[in-house]
Amino acid sequence: MSTVVAKGPAITRDEKLEELVDRYQISLLKVCFTFLHDRSLAEDAVQDTFIKAYQSLDYFQGNSSEKTWIFRIAMNTCRDMLRSRWFRFVDRRVDLSRLPEQTVQMEDGDKEIMESVMALPVKLREVILLCSFEGMTTYEAAESLEITQQAVSSRLKRAKEKLRKELKEKGCDLS
């Protein structure tokens, strides 16, 4: 069985996969849901992401961080799904009632913010997901999206402007 050299003792590929799944599954699920507007597709995208990651574990050089690497795979998987014929048969409305019941109390404006983020154009949604939601730096987001840091900053600025404008129309704000 091949091993993966990581910081600390070498671990098997299967152990490394379990570590990745434990660490990123929920985050990826939320990001993919916001991207694809569909829980089932999001679950598929997460599974596909881990399959691709597992298959390329041996080639992961560590030139980028593990997080940006796995999110890059997820972003590309979601982008591919957006193009697929199958996607045409999925309800793409922004409809939060299709989410499972929340386990924590929602606050005023939460719903409007979530809907506005989901309704952003794909390019702007990506940067909000990675920077605002996942807390990545522009450098990390640029690595995940394979674009320049300047492009990330510019899109982030436009995304925020759009969100502020739309939320204002809904009587909410981001502060």
Partner: protein, 385 residues
């Protein structure tokens, strides 16, 4: 500081809203099994994948040259898995061209039937043949996308070569464009696919549902545009409105009146309406249940067409927003859904299975139920009124 506060607000709102999403405790095991081929992972074969596979297979034959200049019929036969008559002709003969920022857009083929339009647009540079025309960067980032995904008849380039690398090797510059077609003043429900012919010509096929023809024609709004390379959000567009004759389709209305069960809800499928065009069969379903709660539960289910021999989905597709509640009469709540089956419907019997959307989208059809299960409905089309 404001930025940080805004990010925190977005993060906490999204975290609370999605707090009910939970992970799959068996995911790691499932991934390992899937990678080793021990469980079948449903692959939602993308149109692009099908296109690439088709092209790879075909390029090994002497037919390769015939693949240039694809029109609607070529696309449907080769990519969209639909079987259409050999003598199919769209009948389109208008010469429609728009020039935007040095790019010439031309309608290569168009067809409208029933309530749907399909349009094939080609785009190439007016003055030189050293510019590769690409779809919107949102869907086609040349630094990520592989040339083999988009370029037809690609030989001698490995599958990992990105479009950017390919363009560099060939000395091509790149321009991103936008193509859309819809009925004027209707909600644009559009899907499509793109490919590149001869390195520099982009071909884009778009389809839109829910046309409302008037006097046998539909007013199509054809919108094209070119993205400004220096500002990736800036798009310069032009629009041309033209009339397209709509092939008349005689709807087949079938009274069904069969009961099925979905979760805790009993559902009666009242009737279906089939609109068989030469390219596909458009299907509308009308059903009802008792109680608002039942109806809302049913929004999570769809009747799906099943191939009775393989127990797989038929070649289904849709731009529909999914089931919707149409109205109420006392306790009774009426629902409606619509989708299409690729190719013409050649069988006398349509088998349907009512499945939770999340289940079938993930797991496929429910093979354990079997055809004798009450959730399979057999509709004899020849039994129409």
């Amino acid at each position: 500081m404001t930025e940080d506060r805004e990010d925190e607000r977005i993060r906490s709102a999204m975290t609370r809203t999605m707090s009910g999403l939970v992970g799959n405790p068996y995911l790691a095991r499932r991934v390992v099994d899937a990678s080793k081929g021990e469980v079948k992972v449903k692959k939602k074969l993308s149109v692009v994948t099908v296109l690439v596979v088709t092209l790879m297979l075909t390029s090994m034959t002497a037919l390769a040259l015939q693949l240039s200049g694809w029109k609607i019929a070529d696309y449907i036969r080769n990519v969209d898995e639909g079987e259409i008559p050999n003598d199919f002709e769209s009948g389109f003969s208008q010469n429609l061209t728009l020039d935007v920022e040095g790019v010439r857009f031309h309608v290569r083929d168009a067809y409208a039937a029933g309530n749907k339009i399909i349009l094939v647009t080609e785009a190439s540079c007016l003055e030189n043949d050293t510019t590769m025309i690409l779809p919107s960067e949102s869907f086609c980032d040349p630094n990520i996308r592989h040339a083999s995904q988009y370029i037809k008849e690609l030989n001698g380039v490995d599958d990992e070569t990105t479009l950017s690398e390919y363009a560099r090797q060939k000395g091509l510059s790149m321009v991103h464009v936008y193509v859309n077609a819809m009925q004027k003043e209707t909600y644009p429900i559009v899907s499509g696919d793109d490919w590149i012919e001869n390195d520099t010509t982009l071909v884009s096929i778009t389809s839109a549902n829910y046309l409302e023809p008037k006097d046998g024609t539909v007013e199509v709004e054809w919108e094209v545009g070119v993205f400004d390379n220096s500002n990736d959000e800036s798009l310069i567009t032009k629009t041309l409105v033209f009339q397209l004759p709509v092939e008349n389709v005689q709807p087949i209305e079938i009274d069904v009146q069969k009961d099925v069960v979905a979760g805790d809800s009993r559902v009666t499928l009242d009737r279906i309406v089939l609109m068989p065009t030469k390219l596909e069969t458009q299907v509308e379903l009308f059903y009802h249940t008792d109680g608002r709660q039942s109806a809302e539960q049913l929004l999570e289910y769809r009747f799906i067409a099943i191939d009775s021999s393989s127990l797989d989905f038929m070649n289904i597709g849709s731009n529909s927003d999914g089931p919707e509640i149409m109205g109420e009469e006392g306790q009774r709540v009426y629902l409606h859904d619509a989708w299409t089956i690729g190719g013409s419907l050649e069988t006398d019997t349509l088998y349907l299975q009512l499945l939770p959307v999340y289940t079938w989208a993930k797991e496929g059809t429910d093979r354990n139920r079997g055809l004798s299960d009450v959730q399979i409905i057999e509709i004899n089309i020849t039994d129409k009124n």
